[in-house]
């Protein structure tokens, strides 16, 4: 032993920390006024009313995306299906269509993994999602009656498919190394 400290095989990146104030931040006065406004219950209530006033517009927009996703399905255009499902999951919550959003989110998650894994999507699973999205988005009480149950069932199906894909990826040669932190 030489008494020399062993060097880590992982070179430590040298980082410089720049504290707030050493870079431009909100002035004390602006920060104080802004915080006051951000915590003003009347302003928050006004903002909440703004969101509520947009629900109907959002719902109409979601239904437009539902039409487009159905067109994409007829054309078997997976890229557009993903894009429209992404728009639906982004707007559905603010349209009061929470179950529709959950179903669209499940479809996006599934298609995202499929694409990264280089697999072909399961047509039946995609079709089930599309039908559920269309039905839920048009239902008056989608969150309480039909939508949530369907969303839960589809989540189970997607999770099962994703586990299968993950397991098959792990079994591939060169991917047998233990997971990070294992």
């Amino acid at each position: 032993m030489t008494g020399k400290k062993p060097t880590s095989p992982h070179k430590r990146a040298r980082a410089t920390k720049i504290p707030p104030g050493a870079y431009p931040v909100f002035s004390r006065k602006t920060a104080s006024h802004l915080l006051h406004a951000l915590r003003d219950p009347e302003i928050t209530a006004t903002a909440a009313r703004v969101i509520a006033s947009k629900v109907e517009d959002m719902r109409v927009a979601v239904l437009g995306y539902v039409d487009r996703i159905e067109e994409a399905a007829r054309a078997a255009d997976v890229v557009t299906i993903f894009e429209q499902a992404h728009e639906i999951r982004g707007l559905a919550g603010n349209a009061g269509l929470t179950a529709t959003g959950r179903i669209a989110n499940g479809l996006c998650k599934y298609l995202d993994v499929i694409e990264r894994a280089g697999h072909q999507p399961d047509q039946e699973l995609v079709a089930l999602h599309l039908e559920a999205i269309a039905r839920a988005a048009h239902a008056e009480d989608e969150a309480t009656r039909l939508g949530d149950t369907v969303a839960n069932e589809l989540t189970v199906l997607v999770d099962k498919k994703l586990t299968e894909i993950n397991d098959s990826a792990r079994r591939k040669p060169g991917r047998d190394a233990p997971a990070r932190g294992a």
Partner: protein, 171 residues
């Protein structure tokens, strides 16, 4: 009713969905921010950024031709940007872990998940105003400190697996 207005504050909304853009603009206006600029993707946003030098950016993740991750990286690293420290709130419907991690590693300050709520947005802005984070510069990264507000005494429960319960480890 408080009539606070912030004549000198400038916000930039980067969002390709016109409905969401309108909603975000309305919320910032309700807060009293008068100068709200809009762009429908990261490329257009960078032009506005250079011209207006906003104090706050709200950005979506998925946009074409330039998405929110590339835009954020550009904001942090470009020599052409008047303020690389500008706070960026990423508003997204994405729950895929790899995308959230990529956004964090690009230098996003805060995340806000859709659906948008007034409380959610205002809390994120308050966090930025009240507790600005140190910036870190190293070979691979420039942006807000990603190891933020770590509570050494916290022993759980850990929420990460629940947050991304159906995500997979695929790279």
């Amino acid at each position: 009713m408080s009539a606070a207005t912030f004549d000198h504050l400038k916000a930039l909304i980067v969002e390709d969905n016109v409905h969401m853009r309108t909603l975000l603009r309305s919320l910032l206006t309700a807060l009293g921010i008068k100068h709200v600029y809009e762009a429908s993707n990261g490329a257009d946003a960078f032009v506005v950024l250079r011209d207006k030098s906003p104090d706050l950016i709200l950005t979506d993740l998925s946009m074409k031709p330039v998405d929110g991750i590339v835009f954020t990286r550009e904001v942090r690293l470009s020599h052409d940007n008047p303020n690389p420290y500008v706070p960026i709130i990423m508003i997204t419907g994405h729950t895929e872990r790899h995308k959230v991690e990529a956004a964090r590693d690009a230098g996003v300050t805060e995340f806000l998940a859709k659906p948008i709520t007034a409380q959610g947005l205002f809390l994120r802005i308050a966090e930025i105003v009240e507790r600005p984070r140190p910036f870190v510069r190293c070979d691979e990264y420039f942006g807000p400190d990603r190891r933020r507000r770590k509570d050494e005494t916290f022993t759980g429960p850990w929420r990460r697996h629940e947050d991304f319960e159906s995500d997979v480890e695929l790279k």
